[in-house]
């Protein structure tokens, strides 16, 4: 009882501290109603779960879309009457219409890139881990943090509503290049669906900015005593750089999107010039479509690191914990994250090699792009040396982390191909690109996210997820990832273009018919296994094996010093003080030494 009282008084302290300008009537904050605990919660842990579960719902929708368009790609000559029953005119005659296909790929990209792998991944783990791992009671501003989720929710509602428009959702690709996206008469999806897309993304950007501000401020200002920057776990470093990238690059996308809204609705000519649509000559003059691409990719490239970096951090942590060895080259890991963050801003034009970019300029972008291989290789080397001769525990989180490293290597190597502007002339807009970014950014980050969920699930819900289901999930996902995307490299090298509804009219691509069918089958199996994961997740919330010890993985970081089910405020009593870095595993004959333990005189130096 006494501890409970202490905890409450600290929660109240937190409230008065962070809401100093309120009336100070938060003393009874702990008597939370259902609404303030589960809906409009200001507790970072609950907000993290909100992000995660919303992200999972989007993951199912986005994944289902890929299954639908894989049906078309795998079986171009077959009809599926059930599709017509479900989607009506969009799948007339049981075949996915061209408009529907483009809407599906556009929404698949948008949903997975922004709603699942940005909000679902960063939103979840930044919120959950930052206060727990740096030793803070909550975020710098719990209120802004709550707003961040609700802006994401609003963005989700608008994007979801766009799926049900009569003219369909946006369908010009997730990169929404004008003039296609700017002109309603150019395609069905460029009508109302595109306005919904832009407004939804504007809300999404506000959400990421509010989140990012909080993440940065909390990491820099709210660390507990003794938690110097160089003692922070690599998860926090990775989330920090992610947030910096987001705060600096999302506003630029917003500028690009605002100008596009002007062009669409106010008849301006930022991106439009001398266009004829269906015989009609448009009055717009002097605009530049390439301008949009510059603005878009100035965000778009950092965005792929926004997706990837939290996974880099979590994988480093999970590999070290489950190898029972310190992370190899901690400062090199931090330095390489920093290098990746800087380079992220200097390589955007490699998405535009074939848009008429000055080849002289292209050479610089090639050089800077290939430079990313250096920090990436440092990270891979350090992960491998971390697990090298370690005492490996193959928990589901560990398997996903190792799977991540595998995918990061395979996908990273093809990046070196694509980073060369000369090779890009052949490879751009082919399945080679699809294979590259799905492996290195899509599936790899997804694996990082799964690793994180399995690893921190006991902290989130006080229960374990089922291991057998987790192992099935891992092996099918890993095998599936390679079976789906490996063959696509060969399609791409043969010149097979992406974004085509039906490739069967080309004699040269008919040789891939069997492979395409196989890919579609595997895609369905992999999708089914993700549903298994979701079942496991929700089943375990109520029925999972209970966590009985505070520190089930024997990890050093601060979140495992909090109670099994921490309340709002995280620690009853004082916030623990930190005396060492997060990676003292297997030191002086001890398996692990938590960060809270003081350094003794007899200890060897690291």
């Amino acid at each position: 009882m006494s501890t409970e009282i202490t905890q409450h008084s600290h929660a109240a302290t937190l409230q008065t501290e962070s809401h100093g300008h309120h009336e100070g009537d938060h003393g009874h904050h702990h008597e939370e109603s259902f609404i303030s605990k589960y809906v409009f919660s200001q507790d970072h842990k609950m907000i993290a779960k909100q992000f995660l579960i919303t992200g999972m719902i989007w993951g199912v929708i986005g994944g289902l879309f890929s299954v639908l368009f894989r049906l078309q790609l795998g079986y171009p000559d077959m009809t599926f009457p059930i599709l017509e029953d479900m989607f009506g005119k969009w799948a007339a005659g049981g075949r996915i219409s061209n408009e529907f296909y483009y809407a599906l790929v556009t929404m698949h990209g948008t949903i997975l890139v922004f709603f699942v792998l940005t909000a679902g991944l960063s939103g979840t783990f930044a919120n959950f881990l930052i206060p727990l791992q740096v030793g803070a009671r909550d975020m710098a501003s719990p209120f802004l943090n709550m707003l961040s989720y609700w802006f994401f929710f609003l963005a989700s509602v608008i994007m979801f509503a766009s799926l049900f428009l009569q003219t369909g959702p946006a369908s010009g690709g997730w990169t929404i290049y004008p003039p296609l996206s700017a002109l309603g008469q150019a395609s069905e999806g460029s009508k109302l669906g595109m306005d919904f897309w832009l407004v939804s993304m504007a809300m999404f950007i506000v959400s990421s900015l509010l989140g990012g501000l909080n993440y940065i401020t909390t990491i820099l200002n709210m660390r507990t005593k003794g938690m110097s920057m160089t003692r922070m776990p690599l998860t926090i470093w990775a989330i920090f750089f992610t947030a910096v990238l987001g705060v600096l690059s999302f506003p630029v996308l917003l500028s690009g999107a605002i100008l596009l809204l002007f062009d669409r609705n106010l008849g301006t000519s930022f991106y439009l010039s001398e266009i004829v649509v269906k015989g009609e000559i448009l009055p717009n003059e002097g605009g530049s479509a390439i301008l949009f691409q510059h603005l878009f990719w100035f965000l778009g490239h950092p965005e792929v690191y926004i997706i990837l970096m939290p996974a880099l951090g979590m994988v480093s942590e999970i590999l070290s914990v489950n190898s029972r060895k310190p992370i190899f080259g901690y400062l090199a890991m931090v330095g390489s994250l920093f290098a990746i963050a800087i380079l992220a801003f200097l390589v955007w034009a490699h998405h535009m090699f074939v848009t008429g970019l000055n080849p002289f300029l292209g050479a610089f972008f090639v050089l800077l792009t290939l430079l990313i291989a250096v920090p990436s290789a440092i990270k891979v080397f350090n992960w491998l040396t971390t697990i090298w001769r370690g005492n490996l525990r193959f928990t589901p989180a560990m398997l996903f982390a190792m799977g991540f490293v595998s995918l990061f290597i395979s996908g990273g190597l093809t990046g070196i191909f694509l980073g060369n502007s000369t090779l890009d002339i052949h490879l751009h807009d082919t399945y080679f690109v699809v294979a590259h970014f799905h492996i290195v950014m899509g599936v790899a980050s997804m694996f990082g996210m799964f690793a994180g969920v399995y690893h921190w699930y006991p902290k989130m819900y006080g229960r374990y997820m089922n291991n057998t289901l987790a192992y099935i999930h891992f092996w099918v996902s890993l095998a599936g990832a390679y079976l789906i995307f490996w063959p696509m490299h060969y399609f791409g090298l043969a010149g097979m273009p992406r974004r085509y509804t039906d490739w069967s009219n080309w004699q040269s691509f008919n040789m891939f018919a069997d492979a395409n069918r196989a890919i579609s089958t595997v895609a369905m199996v992999v999708f089914a296994v993700q549903l298994l994961f979701i079942f496991n997740f929700f089943y375990s919330i109520w029925k999972g094996r209970k966590v009985t010890t505070q520190n089930p993985w024997g990890a050093n970081t601060l979140e495992w010093t909090a109670p099994i089910r921490p309340g709002h405020g995280n620690w009853p009593g004082d916030i623990p003080e930190v005396h060492r870095w997060a990676y003292d595993y297997g030191k002086d004959g001890r398996e692990f030494i938590p960060q809270t333990e003081a350094v003794s005189d007899s200890e060897s130096k690291h």
């Binding site: 100093g20 300008h21 009336e23 100070g24 709210m222 106010l266 301006t268 930022f270 002097g286």
Partner: protein
């Protein structure tokens, strides 16, 4: 309470720091827009822009508002609550005058038959509208924040003498001021 305060000692207040990061973010947005402007300007079909006279008057007004917001912070630090409230409201009024002058500037352009949007518009004046308009929205947000904070001082039952809200909003206000000066000089030199 003491414990949490101890942690904060010697460090910048988290809210102030958040504001600085937010300012960095807004800078990136306007950097994106003005660099798009520069790229566009170097291409064919650029029409030189006219800066309406009202914009220069609005510049004077927003400069004056930076002085009033500074006085508001000083009053807040000295716990002179009536003075604090007075200068906050004065700043909000000047902000509103700024917005009215900006609107008048665009109406003057329209009166000179310069199209900002729609058929026959040139990207140059559309840029002026988009960039100055977005800046105006940021000022509008600032005015709203000033009024909310001033209203809280009136309404609040318990007296809180924290100068943090005043300092945070003044940082923002000085920023939108400096941003406007950058923008008007930019438009003037990069016509």
């Amino acid at each position: 309470m003491t414990e949490t305060v101890n942690i904060q000692r010697g460090r910048i207040h988290p809210y102030k720091f958040t504001m600085w990061v937010a300012i960095g973010s807004i800078i990136m947005m306007f950097a994106g827009l003005t660099s798009a402007y520069i790229v566009k300007r170097s291409q064919a079909g650029w029409v030189m822009i006219d800066i309406p006279l009202a914009f220069w008057f609005s510049t004077v007004v927003i400069l004056a508002s930076s002085v009033t917001v500074h006085l508001a912070v000083r009053a807040s630090r000295e716990r002179d609550m009536p003075g604090y409230r007075k200068w906050m409201v004065a700043t909000a009024v000047l902000g509103t005058v700024f917005l009215i002058l900006q609107t008048k500037g665009f109406m003057d352009l329209r009166a000179q038959d310069i199209r900002l949007v729609g058929a026959g518009s040139n990207a140059s004046h559309s840029f002026l509208l988009a960039i100055a308009g977005l800046h105006g929205l940021h000022v509008l947000g600032g005015v709203a924040a000033l009024l909310v904070i001033a209203w809280r001082v009136v309404r609040s039952r318990t007296r809180t003498y924290s100068s943090v809200p005043a300092e945070v909003i003044s940082t923002y206000w000085h920023f939108v001021d400096v941003l406007w000066i950058y923008l008007i000089l930019f438009f003037n030199w990069m016509r």
